[in-house]
Symmetry: C2
Subunit: 252 residues, 2 copies
């Protein structure tokens, strides 16, 4: 699949680029951003994928998160995608009526319900199509591991994409995944702003996830950060710790 | 003068705040952003003032420049102002017609020409009113030194604010100031993107400034950064070096 370069800017000795392409999964145009650290010019580098939340284009993360300094230092290729613009070319009736259903709200699931099920295949896009595209277009990629930040939105809106049967929601539920996990050993770092709206209104339930880890004896460092909210100010404050955490394994 | 807090977000252990006030110099509402590092809670901290360029509100710098990590680490209070919104309440005829004259284009001069001369007193605002306001409202300020990043725009547009007599422009010209400098010893660090539009079109003339420093035997580190432009990607890439440079003296 052909990539079109939208922009390229030097940053922290490397390059922050944005590309556009036609997605076969989503049946529309898709954009992603890729940060190439200076090390990528001469040797292979591992890749880190970051998935933004509601209403974000690829610009939110690249302008506000401050990830490039640490990615440059640790030799990490950093990819982040646009979840907002992704569906804006589909012209589905009602797609722009709600901030948390339709355009800007992919939730990284494969929709099974009308009118979403033709285009809204974000799960397959991020787990299959995008990594394939990246691996075939960027020759300096080395080790590939999907390291994805998850936040739990057990929102009623899932029913719009997946229908009322809650058992179909569980495929995308980190707590359910943790409860039945039996893969290689994990080392998990989670930061959570203590004073954000989504936590206090119980739309985020990190306690459920922690309970599942404990039951399964999966080691986790969970930091409930006093005074912080759910914004990019919060992400900016801790992104360096997270890149360092991943780099320890990716560069090992 | 009373300050109204517009926002406050925890960031890098400190707080990023925005305030609004009535400016007596500018005769309109004015906003500024202040980052308070964690150290400011218990002891005095030095202050660094950063002046944004054309078309910027206070948001550009606080979201894109990535200054808070280093300000937090070095215990620096960081202030940046809005040059865009500053004049938007003045209702001067023609103020919105050009991106580089009128609203969004203060240039930190005191205008002497109509229709600007009543409100456009940005020089007095940043050198007198703002520091007075900051010092009287934030009890934890310690040493105060104005450390301002300058870029040279010897634009014809200066004539709009200052009239055709170029000798009146020289008050605001860093090269002219350097040529007659006789104050305390300086240690100057300048970063300049080599591949930006303003440099290649000769609207920026760092060579003139360097020549003045050389003549005056003022030490300077000038880094012409290959591949970089004039954007916030460039600022983000080097802001840590600059805060560290200032902190060396401010915390001494």
């Amino acid at each position: 699949m052909a990539l079109t370069q939208v922009s390229s800017n030097k940053r922290c000795d490397g390059y922050q680029k944005v590309f556009e392409h036609d997605s076969s999964e989503l049946k529309c145009k898709m954009k992603f951003a890729i940060y190439l650290p200076p090390k990528a010019e001469s040797s292979k580098c591992p890749v880190l994928y970051s998935l933004s939340g509601l209403s974000c284009t690829e610009q939110n993360f690249i302008t506000k998160a401050g990830s490039q300094q640490a990615a440059s230092e640790h030799g990490i290729i950093y990819i982040n995608i646009s979840t907002f613009t992704v569906y804006s070319g589909c012209n589905i009736e009602g797609e722009d009526e709600s901030w948390d259903l339709g355009t800007g709200a992919g939730f990284y699931v494969n929709a099974t319900q009308e009118p979403w099920k033709t285009n809204y295949h974000m799960y397959s896009y991020v787990t299959e199509e995008l990594p394939r595209l990246i691996n075939s277009n960027f020759p300096n990629l080395g080790k590939y591991k999907a390291c994805i930040y998850l936040t739990l939105h057990r929102l009623k809106l899932f029913s719009g994409y997946l229908g009322p049967d809650k058992s179909t929601w569980e495929l995308y539920d980190a707590t359910v995944m943790a409860e039945s996990y039996s893969g290689p050993e994990l080392d998990i770092l989670i930061d959570q702003g203590r004073d954000g709206l989504f936590l206090s209104s119980s739309q985020l339930r990190p306690d459920n996830l922690i309970a599942a880890f404990s039951k399964q004896k999966i080691p986790v460092v969970f930091r409930l950060q006093q005074g912080y909210d759910h914004s990019y100010y919060f992400i900016f404050s801790f992104i360096i710790d997270h890149i360092k955490h991943h780099a320890k394994y990716l560069n090992a």
